[in-house]
């Protein structure tokens, strides 16, 4: 190759010739990026299956299925139940535990509490790792920028020892430093997009769960009065 005019500007060479702090930043960014992509895919599957299961359960429930058989189905351990099903099972189980003739208000109160507890646990499960995506989305560009700034600082510092500065002296240093920014952005952009997507999806699921809880309380209350 023509070594006098142009340096080796291949991607790998740029990374390996970068200074240690920049390399460290790059390593951190690669790890962050990998983790964030992992969570993105995990959440994708979780949220998608949750939406499907909620659809399915609501469909069965509002078609007027027998509550007892639904409860059986929800508590059978072989079956993978969805969040909504678990909320229903918690509420219905609590409701059934009270002997007939107990004060309706008290029964409904405890039923609602049981459902709310399960609801909160489920929401926590659904929202787990979302904050990680948000953090990655907001922080990794800065981390990348830190690496870039460091690299550019270094390349300018080395310029001070040269009498006649040309762009060729600084260019490789800046190029390798900019790789850090590229990595940060590569990690951040999908994380932000995924965070917004999943936050919306879980919000909508939460609304559905809450309205279902209210409706189920009504159904159970009517049942207890009768």
């Amino acid at each position: 190759m023509n070594t006098t005019v142009t340096q080796d500007m291949s991607f790998l060479h740029l990374i390996t010739s970068a200074s240690l702090p920049v390399q460290l930043v790059m390593l951190i960014l690669v790890m962050i990026s990998f983790l964030s992509w992992w969570h993105i895919f995990r959440k994708l599957f979780v949220v998608r299956s949750e939406i499907n299961k909620t659809d399915e359960f609501e469909d069965i429930f509002w078609r007027g299925a027998d509550l007892n058989s639904l409860y059986q189905r929800a508590t059978s351990s072989r079956y993978e139940s969805g969040s909504l099903e678990r909320i229903f099972a918690a509420g219905f189980g609590e409701f059934n535990k009270h002997p007939a003739g107990t004060d309706t208000e008290a029964v409904m109160e405890s039923t609602r509490r049981a459902m709310r507890a399960t609801y909160q646990r489920e929401m926590d499960r659904l929202e787990s790792h979302l904050s990680f995506l948000a953090t990655v989305g907001s922080v990794s560009p800065y981390v990348g920028l830190l690496g870039t700034v460091w690299g550019i600082m270094n390349s300018f510092r080395s310029l001070s020892s040269v009498a006649q500065a040309t762009i060729a002296h600084v260019a490789p240093g800046i190029a390798e430093a900019l790789i850090a920014t590229a990595m940060g952005l590569f990690a951040a952009i999908p994380a932000v997009v995924a965070y917004n997507r999943y936050a919306t999806a879980t919000d909508r699921l939460a609304t559905r769960f809450e309205s279902f809880m209210e409706e189920l309380s009504n159904v159970l209350q009517r049942r207890s009065i009768r």
């Binding site: 291949s10 995990r42 299956s49 079956y79 918690a90 609590e94």
Partner: protein
Amino acid sequence: MSINVLHFHSYSEPKKFLSGALALLMHIMFIAMMVFGLSWKNQPPEGMIVDLWSELPKPVQEPEPVASREPSKAIPPSEPLKPKPIEPPKPEVPIKPESSKQTTSPKEITPPIKKPDIELKQKPEPIKEIKPNLEDLKKKEIEERLKKIEAQKKEQELEKKQALEKQKEIEKQKELAAQKQKEQEAKARRDAEARHAAAQQVAARNQIAGEIAKYKAMILAKIRSRIVMPPDLPGNPVVEFKVTLLPGGDILDVKLSKSSGYSAFDSAVERAIFLSKPLPLPPDPALFNEFRNLNITVHYRE
């Protein structure tokens, strides 16, 4: 505590490892893109090659003679073939086979039948003298039959030939039609090209005219910006200069062609012309001829 029981079971997350693998795949793709996708400049840029054209290439107009030649080529083969069908009827004339042109074919077929009769020599003699013999009559009869058969054969052949020829003709007509279509298409294409080229030329001319006007305006503006106007001249005096330019915008010569009547104004404009020395010229050297001798007219008040 059924709630707890519910809480513990079925929390297995779907496709945990699949998502890990997918994440890995994403990164491998990203790295591959960075390593191979972007060719980080390793070679110095290659030199440029510029073709200089004195004028636009003219649309090719040769194809027409070729087109007119082709049909004539196509017709001749059919003409020599036609006479054949007209010739054959002659053999039907029964008795004078030897004198006519078709001697060859009867001779070839007659010998096998003559052999049973007697010899070859005897045959011409009896005809020359008289024709008393039964043998002669028989011969004649046989000959006549043979001729009839032959005529029939020939007719059949003729029919076959005619059928073949018809087919050929049909094919030829098809070919001709195809050729015609092709020609028409080619013509249409040529016309379109010619029109396109003409439009291009017009556009180019317009562009050139626009360019020239633009640069003249630029030159005038540059000179105008350099003029230090003498104050308080009455009216709107006009001065005209003849400027000779060198390629590159340098000024070779400036001549006063029409004075304004105010020497202060004249000299101010002349100075301004020299001051705005590299005059803006179009980058296309072909347009320089338009600028070689410039007439510059400056009004005192715009």
